[in-house]
């Protein structure tokens, strides 16, 4: 970056186009608003939105309510600031202005479309939590008595499992998944990945079949349409397609042989 850009008042502006809505029950307030805010060095979409918040005035000179959004960690590990930026779902904190609009292009910012809208860029990702509950994405330890040390895990298995555990439930995979919508009860790629993760865990494996049964129910692994968008958009580079394929194989095995080998 040229030095002149790094000082304030150079006149360089960041042009945002934000999709807004005042509340869930007011779809008639859905609108696009454009803002131009002063450029700051290392700016990301969050800091651009903070500039809007400081002086919420559209390019037409209209004073409006500040744009609201969710964010927390600002280092792409919490997933809270996930939104659709220039048509692609990602975290706003890691969406750097210098990379997505190096020449002052308009940056389009929208809320995710697969969840109920709360306001502006905030959505309610409750469904993902329900999906995790549905597939029993946990390890049963009730804590009422001493169980002793768990089974040992090999470094190889640990190496395989670690990437799967990086999921932050941000919602990118389900936003890009054509099968995750109001017409289906699909639990989504992230939940199927969690089934694989917990089924590989030495203690979690004790409930492998119960977890498999959940993904052989309504909205289970069969609802995957194989568009493989999930793995393309996952910010944590989780091998989601491998996980879905593995869970598919386990489900097939259970379908074909589960009832025979009892």
């Amino acid at each position: 970056m040229a030095n002149s850009d790094t000082t304030k008042g150079t006149g360089r502006l960041v042009h945002l186009r934000v999709k807004r809505q005042d509340s869930p029950d007011l779809p008639e307030t859905r609108r696009w608003e454009e803002f131009k805010v002063p450029y700051l060095p290392q700016m990301n979409i969050i800091s651009a939105l903070q500039q809007v918040q400081k002086e919420p005035r559209t390019v037409d000179g209209k004073d409006v309510a500040p744009v609201v959004w969710e964010s927390s960690c600002l280092e792409e590990v919490c997933g809270a600031c996930t939104m659709v930026i220039n048509g692609r779902v990602r975290q706003a904190c890691s969406a750097l202005v210098d990379q997505i609009a190096p020449n002052g292009e308009v940056i389009q910012v929208e809320p995710m479309t697969k969840f109920p809208l709360v306001r502006d860029l905030i959505v309610d990702r409750e469904r993902m939590f329900q999906d995790m509950k549905k597939v029993k994405a946990w390890i049963d330890i009730d804590g009422t008595h001493e169980l002793g040390p768990g089974p040992r895990e090999s470094p190889e298995a640990q190496q395989e499992r670690y990437p799967l555990s990086r999921c932050m439930t941000c919602g990118c995979c389900v936003e890009a998944c054509p099968q995750y919508n109001d017409s289906t009860q699909f639990v989504g790629p992230f939940a199927l990945n969690l089934v694989r993760l917990f089924n590989m865990h030495p203690s979690g494996a004790l409930h492998k079949n119960a977890r498999l049964e959940t993904v052989m129910g309504e909205g289970g692994v069969q609802d995957c349409g194989k568009s493989q968008n999930c793995v393309e958009v996952c910010p944590k580079e989780i091998p989601l397609v491998d996980s879905i394929a593995q869970v598919s194989r386990d489900a097939t095995k259970r379908l074909l042989f589960g009832w025979l080998l009892k």
Binding site: K136, E213, S227, V233, A245, Q246, K253, L255, K262
Partner: protein, 261 residues
């Protein structure tokens, strides 16, 4: 966790309904529906040798024992289920290929589009031949001349029905080849990304081959010569009646719709 209740599922447990239907949809697509399509296109290719070999093949099928049971049980009912449930699946998806333009997302979208096209095409095709055979309007021996007449009929110089058949076959074969890839994924045959890429290559080649097999027959009926005739020139010497002979015999110009003697 109600471990016992969930782990002791029988094969047809109530909560597995959606899973079983989807598996049945996937299975019926490969066999019998897909397998029948390949067999059908192979049998049709006998038309390239003229009417007699074609009629012989048709007669052989017509005189298959338990034909009605085979037609309904092994072809029509599985096809109807596959098509009906497939329409539901096509309507359930929320397409986004304009935003996420990856090869697999295109394949996902095209799988549903070609499914609907194939459904419409097969319905039209069944009405034209199987339906008319069933109602006695078209005898099996009349298939060959009817096909020649129907598919070579032109509107402003374009063999519309012939073209429709080539497109219908293209949609059906893409749906079948990509469906085989999907079958291997969803049944857990190809788990690694590498095996999925290899499956895509294999089924891609297979799809092109099946398409050429099917389209060649349609081109033959529409133009009177197959692709190999066009490239290498027609081989004489066969006594069998061909489309060219049939079209020359009929005085009136070819019209749309099969001509019933």
């Amino acid at each position: 966790m109600s471990e016992a209740a969930l782990a002791d599922q029988s094969l047809f447990a109530q909560n597995r309904r959606a899973f079983l239907l989807r598996k049945l949809h996937s299975l019926t697509g490969v066999a019998p529906v897909g397998a029948f399509m390949v067999f059908h296109l192979w049998t049709n290719a006998k038309a390239l040798q003229g009417q007699e070999p074609f009629d012989k093949a048709v007669a052989e099928i017509t005189h298959t024992p338990y034909l009605a049971i085979a037609e309904w049980g092994l072809i029509l009912l599985p096809l109807l289920f596959h098509a009906g449930y497939g329409v539901k699946l096509a309507l359930d998806a929320k397409y986004n290929v304009s935003k996420y333009k990856t090869t697999r997302n295109w394949a996902f979208t095209l799988q549903r589009v070609t499914g609907l096209l194939a459904f419409a095409f097969i319905a039209f095709h069944l009405y034209e031949y199987w339906g008319k055979k069933l109602t006695g309007k078209l005898a099996p021996e009349q298939f060959y001349p009817a096909l020649c007449q129907n598919m070579s009929a032109t509107v402003k110089g374009i063999p519309v029905v012939g073209l429709l058949y080539v497109l219908g076959i293209a949609a059906s074969v893409f749906h079948f080849a990509n469906g085989l890839w999907g079958f291997c994924f969803s049944w857990g045959v190809t788990v690694s990304r590498r095996s999925q890429q290899m499956a895509a290559a294999v089924f891609g080649v297979l799809g092109v081959a099946i398409f050429l097999l099917g389209a060649n027959t349609a081109i033959y009926f529409a133009t009177g010569s197959s692709v190999q005739d066009m490239i290498f020139g027609k081989k004489g010497g066969s006594d069998a009646r061909t489309c060219v002979d049939i079209l020359q015999q009929t005085q009136k110009p070819a019209s749309v719709g099969p001509v019933i003697d």
